[in-house]
Symmetry: C2
Subunit: 305 residues, 2 copies
Amino acid sequence: MSARYERVALIGLGLIASSMAWAMRRGGLAGEITGYARSAETRDIAREIGLCDRVCDSAAEAVAGADLVVLCVPVGAMGAVAEEIAPALAPGATVSDVGSVKKAVIEAVAPHIPEGVHFVPAHPLAGTEYSGPRAGFAELFDNRWCLVVPAEGSDEAAVSRLEGFWEGLGANVERMDADHHDLVLAVTSHTPHLIAYTMVGVADDLRRVTDSEVIKYSAAGFRDFTRIAASDPTMWRDVFMTNKEATLEILGRFTEELFALQRAIRLGDGAHLHEYFTRTRAIRRGIIEAGQDTAAPDFGRGPKR
Amino acid sequence: MSARYERVALIGLGLIASSMAWAMRRGGLAGEITGYARSAETRDIAREIGLCDRVCDSAAEAVAGADLVVLCVPVGAMGAVAEEIAPALAPGATVSDVGSVKKAVIEAVAPHIPEGVHFVPAHPLAGTEYSGPRAGFAELFDNRWCLVVPAEGSDEAAVSRLEGFWEGLGANVERMDADHHDLVLAVTSHTPHLIAYTMVGVADDLRRVTDSEVIKYSAAGFRDFTRIAASDPTMWRDVFMTNKEATLEILGRFTEELFALQRAIRLGDGAHLHEYFTRTRAIRRGIIEAGQDTAAPDFGRGPKR
């Protein structure tokens, strides 16, 4: 099954969509790329930088005749967009998305997908703290994971074809069911983001430590948090609103463990702390061995060379 | 005042001491470098890699005749080391340290400093997640901050000379009092580390998500936490045991804010979340403008090129 589509429509033209456009060009994966964004300003920028072959003024116009439609809007907007484009979808087309939450997206989108159109949800695990049509670059998905989450009764040929497409964009592809996806992401991404946001907010609130001090001395641990906490607010609001159950479960466990460590600090239980910190160190080694990061010592360093 | 010392003794030969040794060589800042570590294995490695001009078998031997002695041991070991070397310190020498906590170090070390010896505590804000004598490199302190925290009644000439020395090692130097230092570090470093340790521990505990999944899909937020959570367990145990008050205060605020966000998630209060995330994004911009990090989009990416 070919990884190439004749016409790919990107609905929403932010970081992920714009990176997909450049990566499709690089890989020769699309005959024509059409695009639509709700904001006229975003459409104008997309036209100015030549992001798509055609930037359309309505989502329906963009999806007409497309054999692949990718919804690249915040998770909370997926349902409305699906409803809007449904009448214009070509028979046999595949509709996919790039949302960070899968169960809620499937619930919102699936009811609008017409008979004869395939719905194959997906989630590329890649991003930066930048957003908008200018933020994309062709290499964003290289060597990153793309999780494909087929809805019940998905057409196998349509699923494999989309998997080949994502491999063409540079990603490693795995299949996962929606519930498990949402739990794994709550652990590896959603809860860490919420925690980073919180810590950055605390620092900003503290009157006795000025913002300039926080910024100046941020190398030692805090800097990595601010990078995470700079991600797109709308996207992350929707993630927490739609992956509520799994995020709250992981947050509950996190608070429990944090209280145990806090108690160890208060009681001066050094053995407990040392044992805990030794265990977490081993996990980091696993990540380096899995090739998801380098061992180069760059934490807390100055501008990268 | 010259930044150069005739003989510098490094007590403890881990990441910071070994980086200091290479940076001193690079800058021509020491006539002779002596070193001591409690572990015979560490001393052997230091000899093998030529870290110091002389690696001694006792701390007293290493400090004899030194005009600068730098305590590079975990914060909890500073007092005992100071007591041990006190009789061997040369009149007019400066004793300094590199501990991440300053109030507790001053309380532990100052009583042992003999009349005629200057005690000038300091804290270079630099590190990696690696430890030991092989972990050091000359560039570790380049463009990082070194906070100098003079104890009450410190000799101004001794303080300025040490400041010049740290500038020679590549650092930007600022003075701060001990209480403020400990609070600033609790915000920018100690609490973020504890939180990262906790989150990594939670992920490891969760039975329904395997460690290999956590590792595989760690790009999206979690990876930065694991890097932080891989730091030296002994050093960090001591930090929390000795900066207890400030860390517990910041943890209390953190928990309060986290509960407010958790409540917003539970109640579906998207406006609260969006407003919070927008505010934290601005802080990140400040850090990039302050030159403490680059704007290059590398978060969540594969092995660095």
